[in-house]
């Protein structure tokens, strides 16, 4: 994902194939947020809150896009700071339209755009933690602050040539940068925000499981752009990343179904696709280093671990991380990050690590822990500050009535008569 990883025969002329593939990958990653994630999350909530989730996904995507243009991109990918980039690319005024992105064979515009889709989906993932009770203005404040204070620095550390990149951490497509940051922050927000009224008694099964499945399916295909695009080139690395991504997702889906089948005598649709997402989140950091065999092992581990994690958060810690952002994304991303040193060498098709296995594991662990701590602390402050500025929750009546009408003046389903 870092320019370095893709720096195979960098030239001074644009490579058309890499450009074609990266534009395609960009389309796929935006699709993951709009509409894939929106459908996945929207189907999981109650019918009276479906529209609010969709508005939140749109709004977060747009806020992140504009901030990325203003200074997010610059602070992430400019300069050589260990902690943060510089301001040489604010408002994307850093070069003419034919400029090549250093260390790649694609135009700067394509690199900016591809990375933007990552900056869009990461804060959007957090939506799953606070749905059905948050004030809409708080969504905007939290997302904006979070992008600049958590996502941008962490992305710089890992992908922008910062201290973790220098330490040789491997995070191919965002196990740390995307999933650990989003997962940990989700837990902190959910905990600060307090549970939904009558949680957990009030919890209802998803109002539209079919919508959850459609969202998950689009996330699956979109993830090919997310992971295979992270090779930043149309080459064998991209191809293998796609293959490992798919095998991990398929295996994880089957394993989650098996667990439910054994526990309840029936495998459910929502369970199956939750396994899919767990498998995809888990392979994300490792997609560039493991081979097919490692991907299958990782996929199986993903469902086993995430299934347990969801239980722990919801029922042991009793935190209302409504749609299990930590349990599925955060834990999955960390698992993949920590397991990859051991799986990279399993069978053929893997790629070399930056360090010997043991050392690599320690570096990976360092990355996960440092990023988790930073995400937790910063997000706590962001949430408290937002609470002071605009307040965090809608009032009880509005929550009971549903956010669709109370916050957006609309109704999800009109019989039309």
């Amino acid at each position: 994902m870092t320019a370095k990883q893709a720096n195979q025969g960098a030239t001074t002329v644009i490579n058309g194939s890499d450009t074609a593939w990266l534009m395609t990958a960009t389309v796929l990653v935006l699709l993951m947020t709009l509409p894939a994630l929106a459908l996945f999350y929207g189907g999981l909530v109650q019918a009276k809150n479906i529209l609010s989730v969709l508005v939140q996904c749109c709004a977060v995507a747009c806020v992140a896009s504009v901030l990325w243009f203003v200074c997010g991109y610059s602070l992430t990918y400019s300069g050589n700071g260990a902690w943060l980039g510089d301001l040489s690319a604010v408002f994307l005024q850093n070069g003419n339209r034919t400029m090549l992105h250093a260390g790649t064979n694609i135009p700067e515009s394509v690199f900016v755009m591809f990375q933007m889709t990552f900056a869009v989906i990461t804060p959007a993932l957090i939506i799953g933690a606070y749905v059905e009770r948050i004030r809409f203005s708080a969504v905007l404040w939290i997302s904006a602050l979070w992008l600049l204070i958590v996502y941008v620095p962490v992305a710089h550390w890992v992908w922008g040539g910062g201290w973790l990149a220098k330490a040789g951490v491997i995070d191919f497509a965002g196990g740390i940068v995307v999933h650990v940051t989003a997962g940990v922050s989700a837990l902190v927000i959910a905990w600060t925000l307090k549970p939904r009224v009558d949680f957990p008694k009030s919890v209802r099964p998803p109002h539209a499981p079919w919508m959850v499945m459609v969202g998950a399916s689009l996330l699956w295909v979109g993830w090919f752009g997310f992971n295979a695009g992270s090779a930043l080139a149309a080459n064998a690395d991209a191809g293998m990343a796609m293959l490992t991504t798919h095998l991990s997702a398929a295996t994880a889906t089957l394993v989650w179904m098996a667990i439910e089948w054994m526990s309840f005598g029936k495998p459910s649709l929502v369970g199956a696709v939750t396994g899919t997402i767990a498998g995809l989140a888990t392979i994300t950091p490792a997609a560039g280093n493991v081979g097919p065999l490692g991907a299958v092992v990782l996929g199986a581990a993903a469902s086993l671990v995430c299934y347990g994690a969801v239980h722990v958060v919801k029922r042991v810690m009793v935190v209302d991380d409504a749609l299990d952002v930590l349990g599925v994304h955060g834990v999955g991303g960390a698992l993949g990050t920590l397991a990859l040193p051991f799986l990279a060498g399993l069978g053929v098709g893997g790629a070399a690590l930056h360090h010997p296995v043991g050392t690599q594991f320690l570096v990976q662990a360092e990355g996960v822990v440092a990023v988790a701590v930073w995400s937790a602390v910063a997000t706590f402050v962001i949430t408290k500050v937002t609470g002071m500025i605009v307040g965090l929750r809608v009032d009880r009546d509005h929550e009971i009535q549903g956010l669709d009408f109370s916050s957006h003046g609309e109704t999800g389903y009109h019989s039309g008569r």
Partner: protein, 112 residues
């Protein structure tokens, strides 16, 4: 005249309609309802937990008919709706003071 209000299992609707038409009761109104009773609801699975859905889908049948026909109609519905399982439903009978056919303005039994 009487108004029969029957709560039945959704999948028995066609059978009940046929049973009623068989005895010459040609009109009825159906609504989708959810019921709670001895049959205590069911549990659905969601991410490693089971949730109880207290109310189960039922259909409510409303049939207006001359008092004289009530007995047959109730018998017909009972026969067609019965599966023998808890949750088969109830048949309520209410007194109906008057009926009017909107299209023609006819009132009373001729409006049925």
């Amino acid at each position: 005249m009487k108004l029969i209000v029957a709560i039945i299992q959704p999948h028995r609707l066609d059978a009940v309609r046929e049973a009623l038409t068989a005895i010459g009761v040609e009109g009825m109104t159906v609504s989708e309802v959810r019921g709670y009773g001895r049959q205590k609801g069911h549990t659905e699975i969601y991410r490693g937990a089971e949730y109880t859905i207290a109310f189960l889908p039922k259909l409510k049948l409303e049939v207006a008919l001359p008092s004289a026909r009530v007995e047959d109609a109730v018998a017909a519905i009972t026969k067609a709706a019965r599966t023998g399982k808890i949750g088969d439903g109830k048949i309520f009978t209410l007194d109906l003071e008057s009926v009017l056919r909107v299209r023609t303005g006819e009132i009373g039994e001729s409006a049925l």
